[in-house]
Symmetry: C2
């Protein structure tokens, strides 16, 4: 991968010709090609078969022309590698049938050796890299310790994370024991991904925003900082995506990541003001804008680009994953609009260079 690819340049806040764009969940159910593959395999088989994962990862690069690929996988492969059974139910999402509820269960969890327990992900990275052939960089990823812990304790997604928070409030010592094991697992996993050839890594803290600011610092962000400082990066950019924490952007931007992914409830111009001097910003169109007509999508894209303004350090994305029922042509309209409308914000930089 040439290190001057537009996506990698943007991660380093270096000048580019147009704002790079990729889309969270871009290799997902809204693609008919994905659904056709999904008809023949269950979700975990797709994750665990490197040739399938590589094929799916490549789909949006071909179909949409995005500037980065993101490995087809799931954040919950780490808990599975730690020994938790994981089931995928259509329409209900991933489920741990035996969620973490006792001290003994936490004690019993082991930090997995990635090459042993998550070798299929590393193989998928290698196979995808070969398939991509340097066309675009490959992003690999992990869930954050807090987000993984919340899933492991609840057993599934939750509207209020009652069980996870009860443990956090009642037994912070046990929560820290669990988070410590997860942080160690995530760090080893991300290092293995980088070693296998990932061009960038992203940490998803999908549920950080359900915490109060102090609890977010204590039970999520402090572990992110620890993980990032323990990475053998060799120049590989680290992206930290955190949902619902726009109010804490100043703190978040100090976690050591090169890029901060923000959701759509933050003004990206304000985000740039607060954090743009230290990190690149990834985001942040409202995913629901993709239900609108293509010309409205273009207007919405122009809104985000205009708010970020001129100059480098912006990676265009949605503020959360693309929904399964969005028309592909709308997603393509988004990518096209970013490529066309963003050039005016970069010309000046190239002239200045």
């Amino acid at each position: 991968m040439p290190s001057d690819h537009t996506f990698l340049r943007a991660c380093r806040r270096e000048p580019v010709e147009a704002t790079p764009v990729w889309i969270m969940r871009q290799a997902g159910r809204y693609l008919p090609e994905y659904r056709r593959i999904r008809e023949h395999y269950d979700f975990m088989t797709m994750c665990k078969t490197p040739s399938l994962a590589a094929e799916i990862t490549f789909l949006p690069v071909e179909i949409l022309g995005v500037d980065a690929a993101i490995l087809f996988s799931d954040i919950l492969v780490i808990p599975e590698a730690m020994g938790m059974g994981l089931e995928f139910h259509e329409g209900r999402g991933p489920v741990f049938p035996d969620p973490i509820r006792t001290e003994n269960q936490i004690q019993a969890l082991t930090v997995p050796d990635p090459s042993e327990k998550l070798g299929y992900v590393l193989d998928a990275i290698r196979e995808t890299k070969e398939r991509l052939g340097g066309k675009v960089p490959l992003i690999s990823f992990s869930g954050s310790p807090w987000t993984l812990a919340a899933y492991m304790i609840e057993g599934q997604g939750s509207p209020d994370f009652r069980q996870a928070k009860t443990l956090m409030y009642d037994r912070p010592d046990l929560m820290h024991l669990l988070l410590g094991k997860l942080a160690e697992s995530v760090a080893a996993y991300l290092n293995a991904q980088i070693e296998a050839g990932a061009d960038a890594v992203q940490i998803f803290d999908t549920w950080g925003g359900v915490l109060s600011p102090d609890d977010f610092q204590t039970f999520s962000l402090s572990y992110i900082e620890k993980i990032i400082s323990g990475l053998r990066r060799n120049g590989t950019p680290v992206i930290f995506y955190c949902r619902g924490t726009g109010v804490l952007l100043d703190e978040v931007a100090r976690c050591g990541a090169d890029v901060i992914g923000i959701d759509w409830t933050v003004d990206i111009g304000r985000a740039r003001e607060i954090a743009g001097g230290r990190v690149a910003i990834q985001g942040n169109l409202d995913p629901a804008a993709l239900y609108a007509a293509p010309e409205k999508i273009r207007e919405a894209v122009k809104g985000v680009l205009g708010k970020f303004g001129s100059g480098p350090g912006h990676i265009f994305n949605l503020g959360a994953g693309v929904a399964p029922d969005v028309p592909v042509e709308n997603v393509r309209a988004l990518v096209q609009a970013v490529k066309e409308e963003s050039r005016v914000y970069h010309d000046g930089n190239h002239i200045r260079r």
Copy 2:
């Protein structure tokens, strides 16, 4: 109602002896006494029978010793008064079986005369005031135009408000037509509540936080400002509760309300810094803290009180409604802790006076 009740003083940012406390959904399902009444009547019958509404409203005043009562009612009574059928399904929440999806439906909606269509709420206010006998002030409330519109379009709660946002992005003119009718209805309704004797009114913008900052300003906050400026308040405090918009606190605090209700994802000390010179702050304990043991709840309460710090202008509350499965003794522990632990933050003010 003597206007020097501690809750009303706090709304005006006047010195008090202890931080007043009430709890969103305090007259709700977590109370066995409520569930016993609920066994005999459906939800709307309870709302529409003033003697029942008054009885339920009074329950937490007796059981918890809160510093304000909030009328037992529902934000969706306005759409119902506008002609939309409303059904309550146990476990699923309120449902509009015929949601707003066409221009004709929006055109057909009429602005209800509160004394005619919502007289039962005004009667309930009068009956509750009599029952309270000046013991604590009575808060009455309405949903915000955006939150009501979102419900009316979706037909129920939604994880992404796809339908509401599609209308907003594709046909902003129609969305504004709907919001305009709702704003007119809400203003007339709140004025009628104040006339009937409500000691304070609260506007709930439960779903404002799902919007981008620009859309929040255009489709929610601008209507709040219009409503508040049109109220005949006669000194009645107006509380604006808005979830998920901590990042916009500066804008929110300029809407004309006397009190801003915040959720638990904002640092209340920071909120006071940003907005405390203009408005009182209501909040903001994580509702999930009520699942913890009473001594942990006391610690969490102390955390919120300490962050707000010394002096007036704080009304203690949760950052969202109390959950139905929380033990009553935990809610009582919360109220007790606020009353006991908050006094040290107010002594100085009393001495200074």
